[in-house]
């Protein structure tokens, strides 16, 4: 008798992703889909796609989707969830989308305690537009708009979104995780599943920041990218759960 050990989650479509080789957006998509399957939420979930490399995220899921303007996904999620409280609503956003142009939207959605889940993909760069400086770009990191490397005297230090949102009293679940090693993938899955589970149980706002790679715009090979993330991003962006509703 054949035993299925690996299959496509039902919440995932059959389409082949457009992401670059070694990009971890696809891994994060899969973790979201697995979480939705395992929690039995697929049929009442609506995703909000960002503007960024994940703008076409809806091609890879079998759940309903809305496509946002740059940075506005949390406002759209707010409008949807408030008027359709029975839905499970999540946004999937990059660091330019969420941490730059969409800072007002994310802070206020978190602070109002919108009962949504935010998957925040931090790859320290603008991927889609070809590698410009992001608020999360590392000190000294070369991008097309910081050709001498991020100069903190002029551009400030990278924005720690999870830390910042964890200072707010309202949000229920704030965590930072990563997907650059198999162990981290397992941990990331746990965080993402928790975040959706809290939403399904009607517990306030949840956000999971996921450290992610962008080999194309970092200008290094996929394997080296995981090492670069480990050595540069992980020490600055602590991988931990910041806030859990049980602790509130």
């Amino acid at each position: 008798m054949a035993l299925t050990v690996f299959k496509k989650p039902e919440a995932m479509s059959k389409n082949i992703t457009h992401y670059c080789p070694g990009c971890t957006h696809g891994v994060i998509h899969r973790l979201v889909a697995e979480a939705l399957d395992e929690l039995g939420l697929r049929e009442r979930t609506v995703g909000i796609a960002p503007v960024g490399c994940a703008v076409l995220a809806y091609n890879y899921f079998t759940v309903d989707f809305q496509e946002a303007a740059h940075g506005r996904a949390p406002a759209m999620a707010t409008g949807l969830k408030r008027t359709r409280p029975d839905l499970i609503v999540f946004t999937y956003q990059g660091d330019g989308d969420l941490a730059s142009i969409g800072t007002a939207e994310i802070i206020h959605a978190a602070n109002r305690g919108e009962k949504i889940t935010v998957i925040f993909v931090n790859n320290a760069i603008y991927g889609m537009t070809g590698g410009q400086l992001a608020p999360t770009t590392m000190p000294g990191q070369v991008t097309t708009t910081s050709p001498q490397g991020r100069n903190v005297a002029e551009m400030g230090y990278p924005l720690r979104v999870a830390d910042m949102l964890a200072t707010l009293r309202t949000p229920a679940y704030i965590a930072r995780t990563a997907v650059h090693t198999p162990q981290m993938v397992v941990q990331a899955k746990q965080c993402i599943k928790r975040a959706f589970d809290y939403q399904a149980r009607g517990v306030c706002f949840s956000l999971v920041e996921v450290l992610s790679t962008c080999p194309t715009n970092w200008g290094i090979a996929p394997v080296e990218s995981t090492a670069w993330l480990e050595q540069n991003m992980a020490p600055y962006f602590p991988i931990r759960e910041y806030k859990r509703p049980e602790e509130a």
Binding site: E43, T62, A69, R72, A75, M76, L80, R82, L87, A104
Partner: protein
């Protein structure tokens, strides 16, 4: 019709949204429309609806998007500077073919301007505001009663065409109190947009994915989408022109074109001019987009002069000029900065044009 009430325009607009079935209102405070928000902050919870003050009009625009794409009837109101911030979302709402109603209780600009009535957002309302080829149906009330009736029409048309509808009122309409009657419906309208089951994002239970989006990377697909929108705007132009014609029969000395509060002032000015023996008629556009160009052209062909009277430095006059197509000289009269001409200002100005 129900009982006759004395109500402030802004509050009547809020009540009319509820009457239309709308149970979701998102807003950001700005004078002179804040009473709509304050009214609905009380009323929405009473009728089991959603009231939410957003962090900015930018965010409010996308709260409308999220709710409308979920199939709900949704409404916001703002005033000029706030509508500039809503403009980004209006382009996306139009592109995604979402039915929403947006009220602009106009104040004077540009910039922060002031909080007094104006009609200087005419270009923004009728020509875009946001980017790309899109249109909003634009309705301009001249009384509190008309604002109420138009709100019901706005929700109906937003749903019928799946377009954003703009109620373009000026601060005077929002702030003044007038008697108003609300129609009574045997069956209260639904809080959801009819037919939303076909496209809204309500969860893919037992069906394929529903997707509400505006990105078309393939130029052929983008072209097809633009053509689809254009066909809809053509239908709107063919079917949704609304205007009021006053004394426009026969030969005229002057044809006035004016809308909203300014048109009411013009009504009184017309009497003064008529008393002086002038034949004066007026066309009051009720829909600013689509613009009643044909009616204006036809009436202009029987008039010696056409005057566009506006609370702006001359915006609608460009559409009037285009409508008239040289059949009569076209002039502008108006005031901006929050000043509203009194009837004698208008009649004197027009008399000057006729004699000059």
């Amino acid at each position: 019709m129900g009982e006759r009430l004395l109500m402030k325009g802004n509050e009547a607009i809020g009540e009319a949204a509820i009457l239309a079935g709308c149970r979701a209102y998102f807003c950001y405070p700005i004078t002179p429309q804040t009473e709509v928000a304050e009214y609905l902050a009380r009323r929405m919870p009473e009728v089991g609806g959603v009231f939410l003050q957003g962090e900015s009009e930018v965010a409010v625009g996308y709260m409308l998007f999220g709710a409308a794409a979920g199939g709900s009837k949704v409404f916001t109101t703002s005033s000029s500077p706030g509508v500039s911030l809503l403009a980004e979302a209006m382009s996306y709402l139009a592109a995604a073919e979402l039915p929403v109603v947006i009220g602009n209780v106009m104040r004077n600009g540009p910039g922060l301007g002031g909080i007094l009535p104006a009609q200087a957002d005419y270009f923004q309302a009728t020509k875009g505001g946001g980017h790309g080829d899109y249109r909003c149906l634009v309705l301009a009330p001249a009384s509190v009663q008309e604002a109420v009736d138009m709100m019901l029409l706005a929700f109906a048309k937003a749903e019928e065409y799946r377009v954003p509808v703009l109620l373009l009122a000026d601060g005077m309409i929002g702030q003044m109190m007038e008697p108003v009657e609300f129609p009574v419906f045997a069956e209260p309208p639904s809080r959801y947009t009819s037919g939303h089951e076909e496209w809204a994002t309500t969860g893919a239970r037992g069906r394929g994915q529903h997707l509400v989006k505006t990105l078309f990377l393939n130029p052929d697909a983008a072209w097809a989408h633009n053509l689809k929108l254009k066909a809809k705007y053509d239908r709107i132009e063919a079917n949704e022109v609304r205007y009021e014609a006053v004394d426009t029969q026969g030969e005229m000395d002057v044809l006035i074109v004016s809308f909203g509060t300014m048109a009411r002032v013009c009504r009184t000015a017309m009497e003064t001019l008529q008393d002086k023996g002038l034949k004066v008629g007026m066309i009051r556009p009720i829909s600013l987009y689509p613009f009643p160009a044909q009616a204006i052209r036809e009436a202009a062909s029987r008039s010696r002069l056409v005057v566009s009277v506006e609370l702006s430095m001359g915006q609608m006059v460009e559409d009037v000029d285009r409508a008239v197509q040289g059949k009569a000289p076209v002039r502008w009269y108006g005031k901006a900065g929050g000043l509203v001409p009194v009837p004698d200002d208008v009649s004197a100005a027009i008399l000057g044009m006729v004699e000059g």
